[in-house]
Amino acid sequence: MAVPDKHTQHKSKYTADRGIPGAFEGETVTRRRFMTGTAHTAGAIAAGAFTLPALGFAIGPIFKEPPHFWEDIGSTTDFTAENYTPVVITITQGIGEAGKSTAYVRKFNPAIDTDPYDRNTPYIAISTRCAHLGCPVRWVDAAERFICPCHGGVYNLLGQPVGGPPVRPLDRFPTRLTGDRVQLYSGRFSVNSELKRFSPRDPGEPLDGIGQYLYPSRPSAQK
């Protein structure tokens, strides 16, 4: 009689057929398998119980929009329609100097601000965040250009790029008039090359063509 090879022998999936003590009719899960599964499940639940909250804690800010606010930037007599006036604004509260930024503000000028969206804004407030990689641009009066010190980005009076690496115009802030005080909203918005408005994007992200889809709007920075 040939010795049966245990690998070729068909083993029944029913515990009752395999003669395991205490087997039930129709039972397929052995106690060893059940205990192994229970231990693994318990371990996975215990690990998930601290991993998932910690991970959510770390990536939570991606889904949360920080509070924005209106801030006073001066009176109507402080700004002209022909030239920019720099104002220091707060974009993040509670961290002192590190939360401040500069905006260039001028009165709405129907001769050059032909974009229909701009008609609602009494003052044009241009963010100094360069649309290349976020360095602070400076308005150079003699050249009538915004110039970035880091990588040579140049923008015209409307904040549209006319030289260097920037991929879209400078961002803007909403403004409003309360009495004779000019107020600026700390939540900026981005514009494409036709000055059409988009929710704020980070510097370097183009908004023309497929740019607006490659660099989508995020939950943390809505219009």
């Binding site: 770390a58 990536i59 800010p61 991606i62 949360k64 929009e65 920080p66 974009i91 993040t92 509670g94 961290i95 002192g96 100097e97 590190a98 939360g99 990689l133 976020g134 360095c135 602070p136 880091c150 704020p200 994007r201 980070d202 510097p203 370097g204 992200e205 490659l214 660099y215 989508p216 995020r218 943390s220 920075a221």
Partner: protein, 270 residues
Amino acid sequence: MPKLPKLPAPPLPAALQEPPPRPGEGNGTAGPLESAKEAGTTVVDWVDERTSLSGAGRWLMFRKVPKGTNWFYTLGSATMFAFLSQAVTGVFLAMYYRPDPSGGAYESIRYVTNDVFLGQFVRGMHKWGSSVMVVLVFLHMGRTFFFGAYKYPRELNWVIGVVLLILTMVMSFTGYLLPFDQRAYWATIVGVNINGLGPLVGPYLSDFLRAGPEFGATTLSRFYAIHMLLIPGALVALIGAHLYLVAKLGTTAPPWIKAEQNPELRKADA
């Protein structure tokens, strides 16, 4: 193990020389002097009996190295010692550093540099050591590449090495913000925006790094935690894996060393 040669005995006349100890002398009750002499061996034996660590130590330290091994093979160890130097100086800098964006961070760095005894020296070691480490990582990588030491069966170690290179760069990036001066702030703004240029995921990665859409109240502490807790842990673990594979697989001979052929074997083959 071959017997090591003994040091020559001092030239004393026989009458003054101490007689060598006889087996069984003291009948198992060693005197205090002998116990003290044996203390080191006793402690090591006690630990080894309970851990068997000496085998692992011999396996790691006393390996055969191929003919032609030269000074270029020390670049890996040099990188590791640069990392250890960064780890030690970093731990001590953390005793003074305050990740407070409203002025405290810069002030604590100013205090370390100007007022703490040897503070400028320790901070200088950490600052310049980071550049040294990056340079050494690249030299080590170049040695591995030009000597062909990334080939089978060492591909996985090359991959681990590349991850270690990336983690080293993340350390450099996150550490650059911590002094919180103008250079640190603007370099981080630019660096985070470069991160954001990855299509689709880039903007979210930037939000993760900044903890929000703008440089905010917790950006600095986030960089600090990544710099001193998250990445160092990963670095230590991966350096361990890297070293394990080096010990397991051995090192390669330089490419100019030809394999020695035994003419006898060649004859038998024909």
